[in-house]
Amino acid sequence: MTAQTDRNLNITVHHMTRVEGHGNIVVDVKNGTLDRAELEIVESPRFFEAMLKGRKWHEAPYITARICGICAVGHAQASINALEDALGVTPSEQTLKLRRLLFNAETMQSHWLHVFFLAVPDFLGAGSAIELVDDKPEAVKMALRLKKLANDLADMICGRKVHPISMKVNGFSSLPSPEELAAIRPRLEDARSDLRAAVDLLKTVNIPDFERETEYVALSLDDEYAWISGDIHTTDGFSYDVSDYRKVTNEKAVPHSTAKHTSHNRESYMVGALARVNNNYEHLRPEAKAVAEELGLEKGCTNPFMNNIAQIVESVHCLEDSIELIDEFLTEGLNKEDRSVEVSAGRGAGAAEVPRGILFHEYAIDDDGYITEANCIIPTGQNLANIDQDMKALVPAVLDKSKDEITLMLEMLVRAYDPCISCSTHFLDVSFKE
């Protein structure tokens, strides 16, 4: 694609819509040369690290869930993982499986919300899913049905998806009954046909053709698709224990953002559904791999717009995994477990693959169980540098298009990352004195 050489262009999208949180897109082209392309983060900082200091350890999952309404379960889990690491707790197989089922629910809910309500309106030329009610009522109802199922599944396990209640260190304070599990199972089976229809709809949309190589970072396990445990892997061939997460994130403050930027082996890296698929494709269930093939998603994909497709592929994986887990619970039963914990001073790090990517929490606790230091690094914060790099590569390639078209493409690009801006500003750096 050849760009016009003498063009001046100034694009400012103030408070982007259909994203979680407040951000502006700013692009400046002078005489055909890109001067500036940035996603400005203007969300108010909320100072969670400061709030956590002096609070009891078991309050951290409640407080940190409030960082983000969309991935509240993810924050609670990363918080619990960090606390279990600090306190030397090893949760039971049952707890780990129930957490995975809960993560399936949150992932499906978040991915479906994003793809159907926030991203798809762009592909169909609408300003919102609400506008699509008259035009495509069946599609909107289907999307609502799927989203409700995922929310109901999460509510059944943790009491309330926004914000979870029964998620605790070393287990759950309440367990779903066999009747509840049996009642939701057929709804999950019915969702297969809804999801089939969604895949058929997505086959008709045009994903912008844009490639840019970058590093993809995700949790990985040897034997399954990683959500709540594993080591940190990158597609540039690096591998780290979660406790070494700072070697990956290398945070730095940048003037145009209340969220810090991160970088590892290159100037930026990407986290999220596409990063997980690129690192862990072989552990996707066969049904998910089949959908990936249908929608043209391969391991090693470098088109950030395909993150939307990776989300749908993951949701197929989560749906099938959920049905299998529920069958196991119905056969084996769920039993009340001893959740007692011995508290002593310690430090621990935890990670979780939340819908938007890898999330890190780290705490230090004193002998009385009070938090003395806290740190969190949010997926969207880790994606910000990569979004800027993508915009810098995308704008020159599309400079021959109209300002409106370029603006829409940039908005679609940012939205493809499913940015969770309120999250990214809430937990940034910390003064960890080693």
């Binding site: 408070h15 819509t17 259909r18 994203v19 979680e20 949180g21 407040h22 969300e43 108010s44 900082p45 909320r46 100072f47 690290e49 400061a50 200091k53 002096g54 609070r55 409640y62 407080i63 409030r66 960082i67 983000c68 309404g69 969309i70 509240a72 919300l113 309500f117 926030l118 300003g127 919102s128 899913a129 609400i130 506008e131 009610v133 909107v140 609502l144 049905r145 409700k148 929310n151 009491g159 309330r160 998806k161 926004v162 914000h163 209640i165 029964s166 605790k168 759950f172 304070s173 309440s174 730095k252 403050a253 003037p255 209340t258 309120s422 999250c423 940034l428 750096d429 910390v430 003064s431």
Partner: protein
């Protein structure tokens, strides 16, 4: 004419807006009964004027104050949506430190120059608020009932009795009679949540704010009897309620 409704967001996790999006069964009916003109999280803007404004989030920056004042000027009815807006919520926990200390803690030396932050306030400390939908997050039924009341020209109902009442109606064993070590704030916290936290094996953490006639001394005594000291008991009351207008009564 259908009322024009705007949904706005200040410092928060946006979870209360999400609770609205999560009303899958009722969402299309609600959207049909009103004219939704601003809902940034879910749609591109279509108009700037509105009759009813739902405002989520607390005020934590100077720059948010004129924005909120403008919303108040335009709206006939202003409803505070969720704990951040009604009582400051968890955001107000930062108020125990100075703005400079908070900036240093989170951003270090590098960032402290360019972030504007002020002590957290619920929105009624900045503008007049007509109605409150409490909770962190809001209860979906509560939102639907408020919208219904406003459409019917009725005053939305807000309970002024404690969580304990709803907890008993659900036939839960009292948290203080259970064999775990949870500490429950239910006796002083406003109901309306169907006691969801005690019902899921946890305890009330105070997100809906205090009832008008809260007996803090008595509750603190119970908490101390269940193994925590007085300072820790007050700290628990402060998790969501540092910014609450009744916060002074707890400290007394």
């Amino acid at each position: 004419m259908k009322p024009r409704v705007g949904i706005f967001s200040f410092s928060s996790c946006e979870g209360c807006q999400l609770q609205i999006l999560n009303m899958e069964n009722e969402l299309l009916d609600i959207v049909g009964a009103i004219d939704l003109v601003t809902f940034r999280e879910a749609m591109d803007p279509v108009a700037r004027d509105y009759d009813v404004a739902f405002v989520e989030g607390s005020i934590t920056r100077e720059s948010e104050i004129p924005m909120l004042e403008e919303i108040r000027r335009k709206a006939d009815v202003l409803v505070a949506l969720g704990a951040c807006a009604t009582i400051g919520g968890v955001n107000a926990m930062k108020n125990k430190f100075s703005p400079e200390e908070n900036l240093q803690e989170v951003y270090g030396d590098a960032g402290s120059e360019y972030y504007d932050t002020i002590p957290t306030r619920g929105i009624d400390e900045v503008v007049d608020v007509d109605y409150y939908i409490h909770g962190c997050p809001i209860d979906r039924t509560d939102f639907a009932q408020t919208v219904t009341s406003l459409l019917l020209g009725k005053r939305p109902y807000t309970p002024n009795f404690p969580v304990c009442v709803e907890c008993r109606l659900k036939e839960n064993v009292c948290v203080y009679d259970r064999d775990d070590d949870e500490i429950c704030l239910g006796p002083v916290i406003r109901a309306g949540c169907s006691a969801v936290c005690p019902s899921f094996g946890s305890a009330c953490i105070g997100c809906r704010g205090y009832v008008d006639q809260a007996n803090f001394d008595s509750l603190i005594k119970v908490m101390v009897e269940h193994g925590i000291d007085e300072e820790e008991a007050k700290k628990k009351l402060r998790m969501f309620n540092t910014g609450n207008a009744k916060a002074q009564e707890v400290e007394a």
